[in-house]
């Protein structure tokens, strides 16, 4: 009984995304396209592309996560659903958690799954590719959690889409450094273990704090 | 026959992974499209009939 509203919030987000397949598939293709833009801008030299690959993939993942953020609470805010969520007799933070998990499943996970294929295009192979996958699997939920706070803070602020970038990207920097660092570390021979555990720690902190921060921001946005 | 045996044929001069990887995946994709096309057509037919019935009832 107690879990059911959370499940409902989660299910509704997933259901809505399913209705709008084009919606989250585009997050995914956005990622693929942005990654493919870089060789066009930088030039086709394989060695250089290989060195750049982790950085490019991670920056693209950051941007893709960020682009999908406004949708998390934006439509709820515009159509009045957010008022109802805030007034619901459930702890708001739990509803936020459910929505964040849905966001990750729909935007973060597909990126992590696709990344190895893109890595191949840049000439990555073997262990770096595996580490790339794991770093994204640990890192993308962080992006969803941190991004949620930014998305909530920019509600009702027109041009939120760009403002959210400004708020959130700096917060993403540690995730970027540990994530891209892990792949580079394994490529240069040092192990990726340290970087990955740091990413795990980031995830724990983000998961523990962000629902509270997000729900506080949501309340403020309605005042 | 240039291949001699089925084994040779399947081996594709050592390029089995690549050649069969191409041909099989292509075959699967084309067959998949055909299956999806049939399904879609059946669903569309059923839907059209359902609507025709609804229209008559209304």
């Amino acid at each position: 009984m107690n879990g059911s509203p959370l499940l409902a919030a989660f299910r509704r987000d997933v259901l809505q995304a399913w209705r709008r397949r084009a919606d989250w598939l585009t997050t995914f293709f956005f990622f693929v396209i942005v990654v493919s833009l870089f060789p066009l801008g930088v030039g086709p030299e394989p060695e250089m592309l290989k060195t750049m690959a982790p950085g490019i993939l991670w920056v693209a993942a950051l941007l893709a996560a960020m682009l999908s953020l406004p949708r998390v609470y934006g439509t709820d805010y515009a159509d009045g659903t957010l008022e109802q969520l805030v007034l619901a007799p459930q702890p708001l933070a739990m509803l936020v958690l459910a929505k964040t998990v849905a966001h990750w499943l729909l935007s973060g996970l597909p990126l992590a799954l696709m990344a190895p294929v893109l890595g191949l295009q840049f000439g990555l192979e073997g262990e770096p590719l595996t580490v790339l996958f794991w770093s994204l699997l640990l890192g993308t939920p962080c992006l969803s959690f941190i991004g949620g706070v930014g998305a909530a803070l920019t509600l009702g602020v027109r041009g939120g889409g760009v403002l959210v970038a400004l708020l959130v990207l700096p917060l993403y920097i540690p995730v970027l450094i540990f994530g891209a660092g892990a792949v580079q570390a394994v490529a240069t021979g040092t192990g990726a273990g340290g970087h990955l555990s740091l990413l795990g720690a980031c995830l724990c902190i983000a998961a523990a704090l962000s629902p509270w921060a997000t729900s506080a921001a949501l309340r403020v946005s309605l005042e | 026959m240039q291949w001699g045996s089925l084994e040779n044929f399947l081996n594709m001069g050592g390029y089995a992974k690549f050649v069969w990887g191409s041909f099989v995946v292509t075959a699967v994709l084309l067959a998949g499209e055909v299956v999806l096309l049939r399904r879609r057509h059946r669903a569309a037919l059923a839907d059209a009939r359902r609507h025709a019935r609804l229209g008559r009832d209304a």
């Binding site: 394989p46 000439g123 | 026959m1 240039q2 990887g21 191409s22 995946v25 229209g55």
Partner: protein, 242 residues
Amino acid sequence: MNLFKFSSPQTFYPLAGRLAPLFWGLAAVLGAVGLYIGFFVAPTDFQQGDSYRIIFIHVPAAWMSMFLYLVMAVWAAVGLVLNTRLSSMMATALAPTGALMTFIALWTGSLWGRPTWGTWWVWDARLTSELILLFLYIGFMALHASIDEPRRADKAAAILAIVGVVNVPIIYFSVKWWNTLHQGSSVSLTKSPSMAATMLAGMLVMALAFWMYSIAAGLTRVRSIILERERNSAWAGAMQEN
């Protein structure tokens, strides 16, 4: 007036129903002949060994991917300008097949590149523009799928297809110049010097097969689309065949 007779979905539906099996059959026969030539008549290439046999699907798929985009855009433009619904439906019907062909060209090319170039992928002009073509197809389909009112979707997607057609040559040449003006890539396409006549024949037969396949798939899909859109009309409800 006679010219426009078949531009009504209702009259085109049965016509397409009669034509489609013909093209499916042609595709199957040509495909079988092409595969026979490809695997049993064409000799092993002295440079690439048997890996070259990928050419029998790679090149036809690559050709079709580009050709279908053009055809799709022309249908879309006709639909937009003359407001004939059937043309827009044809455009929508071709897009998935075109995207599939593009994907097959990419996939087989990639599998071919590994043994011949030693890498799955290089950022070469032809490869890159094929990848972009895939994005254009996906954009067309995604846009069409995101608009519920079918007529609006047709028109919006048509505008996109036309803009894309203006862009495809620009993209193609820009990628080509990008790649050649800058340091030539260290790997290059090792074409078999003079393609054996049988190889060429096999490739052409397979290209015809892919062509017939695309027509058949397009006709079949357009029939479903017609039914979906006209499901309220009496004639659609009366269709009984499977």
